[in-house]
Symmetry: D2
Subunit: 323 residues, 4 copies
């Protein structure tokens, strides 16, 4: 990544990993999805994060996906690759492979099996950083990794040149506000927020943008909301924020699974015809009746219409599966 693209800014969707079977990538779906979000105006792509179900994919499949995605993106936007693993050796391998495929940066959550203290975490990142061939962002995701990057830890790691920013998915805005305060300590340091429902307010308070999962489906909605926030058009922010919350409520909370967001996004993508809706074990697709609720909600939200207008999925809007 050349310094001219730093700091990273805007909407950087955490790309889902389209699958046809267990550890079998939906290659055509991946190509269509990549094009869809880039044409929707996003400012970068983050592959193999939580939304990408990276930990559930075999190492071989992860590598395959890095290759396909980078190839399809073709440098149109910066590519970030998740390399989080419980093994340092494997993380470094992923980083090297990502570089060889043309990725711009890597993204690193804490190792997610052992609990650990911040001083060990700091040492871990320092040792890792010394071996990484690319700039990296830290990814704060305590709900899944159990361990947070505490503010003091991040502050002390900012002396590492390759460390170019943080993606915070804690949904803890007290924490996020402190990250924003850290931005004054170094140039070109990016602070991105995970939950899309918090993206607008994070930008209004000085944040740089969002890794918004819903942007897999409706990239232009999130891009527009981001721009409204950047241009301080609060009326437009409120209007679009209401749409974001409606989409979130309609698609992510059908059924009670803790991973309802992921199932909702993939189910909805399936209905658009962009790619398969298959999830990777240990997650499973939702029952047919819930899928139909999602379909209905998509209609109510005008998602099919807006996609047709954008001409993106025009070749293949999938029929309702029960018809």
């Amino acid at each position: 990544m050349t310094d001219t693209v730093l700091p990273l800014k805007g909407i950087i969707p955490p790309l889902v990993t389209p699958l046809l079977g267990r550890d079998e990538i939906d290659v055509d779906g991946t190509r269509r999805l990549v094009d869809h979000v880039i044409e929707g105006g996003v400012h970068g792509l983050f592959i193999l994060g939580t939304s990408g179900e990276a930990p559930s994919l075999s190492h071989k499949t992860q590598q395959e996906f890095i290759q396909i995605a980078c190839e399809q993106i073709q440098g149109r936007v910066p590519v970030l690759v998740g390399i989080t693993d419980t093994s340092m050796t494997e993380s470094i391998e992923f980083a090297k492979f990502s570089q060889s495929c043309g990725a711009d940066a890597v993204v690193l959550a804490t190792p997610y099996y052992f609990p650990m203290h911040q001083q060990d975490l700091k040492r871990y990142i320092e040792e890792m950083a010394a071996e990484l061939p690319l700039p990296f962002l830290l990814y704060n995701m305590p709900s899944h990794t159990k361990v947070s990057y505490e503010i003091g830890t991040i502050e002390s790691l900012m002396k590492l040149e390759k460390f170019i920013g943080v993606k915070d998915s804690s949904a803890d805005m007290l924490y996020y506000n402190k990250l924003i305060e850290l931005k004054s300590e170094r140039e070109n340091f990016t602070v991105l927020v995970g939950p899309e429902e918090l993206m607008a307010q994070s930008v209004l308070m000085g944040g740089d943008g969002g890794i918004s999962g819903g942007a897999n489906l409706a990239p232009s909605l999130y891009v527009s909301l981001y721009e409204a926030a950047v241009t301080e058009d609060l009326r437009e922010v409120h209007r679009l924020q209401h749409q974001v919350l409606r989409l979130s409520k309609s698609l992510y909370e059908v059924g009670a699974a803790p991973t309802g967001y992921l199932a909702g996004i993939k189910t909805a993508l399936g209905f658009t015809g962009l790619c398969s809706d298959r999830l990777c074990e240990p997650l499973y697709e939702m029952p047919e009746e819930r899928k139909q609720v999602i379909h209905q909600h998509m209609s109510d939200l005008g998602l099919f219409e807006s996609m047709r207008t954008e001409g993106i999925a025009s070749q293949g809007i999938k029929k309702k599966s029960n018809s």
Copy 2:
């Protein structure tokens, strides 16, 4: 595993993985450690669990360790191999490899990245079971995996023939008591407890034994306590339990790391000369002054003496590192 060894019973240490460097196995140390615990009277061995730091090792190193350990054990006791991974494909690969090395059973904690509901967990285990070439135990470890095997889930999985038991490391004896109740539903179903401090009472209440980490260091202590419980000699149980609690307090609680147990065991093993004390990233060895506290506590506990008496580590008691 032939049915004659079922149900598994007794003390089955979760073997640590001796390391010389990152992803570099201490092969000689491994051989000495295996002999040490078998000569100490243990009833089986469990490799590549939490104590074995499996998630921190590269896949290649895990396979190497399976090979070395099985080779050294040579069928003297049953061998259980941890195959837990966040990817189902990788878990199945590990199971197949374990079988090829002569392992007797595999052990499976829940996938540890995504939170999930019990019905998805049940389906996951059923699908996995269909592809496993060996009998398996489920390993309940919510402090590290975030997800428990609930009692109802275990009960419904008991119809799977390959499912031969549970290792419970939740330290929740309300849960453990319910596991014991399940034993009446099927023959040869094993219920083992993780925390060594709870092993005696679990056996007194009808449990089958323990995956006691301290048995890496002092196998005969845990074997004796197990036998006292089995023979209902409560006076001896109290005497040995006091020793177990003293060892636990002296070695596992030096420093405040959440993984103090693991650092304590490896440090102590290092001092015995059995094997290297190196931990695998993201865990790091304790500072020298804490190591010396461990050394002192080992002296106070008479651990050096008892080892000499047993003649086990006689070739190479390591000098105090500051001498």
Copy 3:
């Protein structure tokens, strides 16, 4: 309490508070319940604990209940009174009132609104102890109070003469084992366990008995189990423990309320005719269909029969409410 009854030992039921309406004590029910448990052989009584719904009762009603219960007990067994409150002043008032009614000791959980550090907790207990007119037990109940009495805190408070023991309801046997270790530091120090499902094993390991909620209903079952454990009759322990677990599963887990235990006990007591089944707000009685499940389970467990045999509730077994 004269020193001759120290240390407290055995089964000390946490008496429920029978109610006819909001803040209206079921006086006759209270008298019958007190007699029922004492005739069932219990070794003491603990009133106004969690099972006694003390925090939900007005201060006036709590005082009224202390008076009625002490009057009915008439010194037949030691009486312990819960004085936990978020206000130190109120706790001390309750203690003075308890003394005036003839109580033998008071029981003190941590204040349950503010989180706090152990050193503040220690100071709090020391200041309180200086003003308490009676010996006291500490009551470890982190699921409800959020704050634990850590082992080090308890150890340092053992220098206080009035501090005569601990009731541990954490269900954490690692913690409980450490409490047992503390007993060697002082004479007449009692370590009682809360969850009845853990009572037997706690006694086998050296504990003093249980504050067993089920003993409101079936006091002799818990007394027999306690005696089997004290006399090291493991076969009898297993037989009775199975009954305790069955009772627990049948009565406490009907419906999914986090306070199912309390609703189950009170509903069951209602069916015996001993006292009203009303709970105090914010807890509410269970729906009629669940009550009928409880009634069926009571029949299955032979509880009605055993009560008749003991002649205890013979005057007034309530009819099934749907008949």
Copy 4:
């Protein structure tokens, strides 16, 4: 409260309770503090909340404080009184007493001893509402009460006329955003945020203001930030937000107590001479050396100067206690 003041808006400080000794109110300090915040421009006052240490005060003292505060406020701004208690009877008594003293509304967190399900919580609030003589806000404070008012519960309670708003101290902006969505369902429904660090963004997103603890000390700072947000002056929001975060970091995080915020505020108020810095048991004042850190930070923040300028505490700026 007349409908003309609804919905509540702006900065409504959660008044601390100045104390001279255990359960002894600092009456003069209370009068000065009330005047200080009202002269600082606040839009209302909330007494006997968490910052008011209500649960730690005896019932008698709480009533005394209601009386003194209402008397001093003299209707200059709306007065909200916290009536949260674990006993419904006591809560209702507090509400009646508040009305008799001229309070405008009462504030109700969930009962904080027993965990409970939402349907029981809903019933509890409905029953309570029927007996409350004043409009009420619900106070979401799960870190202290363990139980949240879930969005669905709040939505279903909005049919109650007396229910005029929510104070959310969860610091969960995903939740808060949903509260803002609920505002469209009813006129004059207020959504206030607890943590002062989140006040600005909550107002930018459509919220009504904050129960900002720091406004005890520096009311005009929070009032100015609120106004900047309301008038969409983002540059000013960022400037003042930085000051708020600096104050928060400087005063609330000295020492590691979980209640550092409360100790920090009271210590700082003590240094201004407005009122005593005594906390109510089980909270204790910080050690002298930490107090001096607070004093230094107050100087660095220019707090003494700004107070002199505002002429508020001019009669009695307390000397540094070590001088």
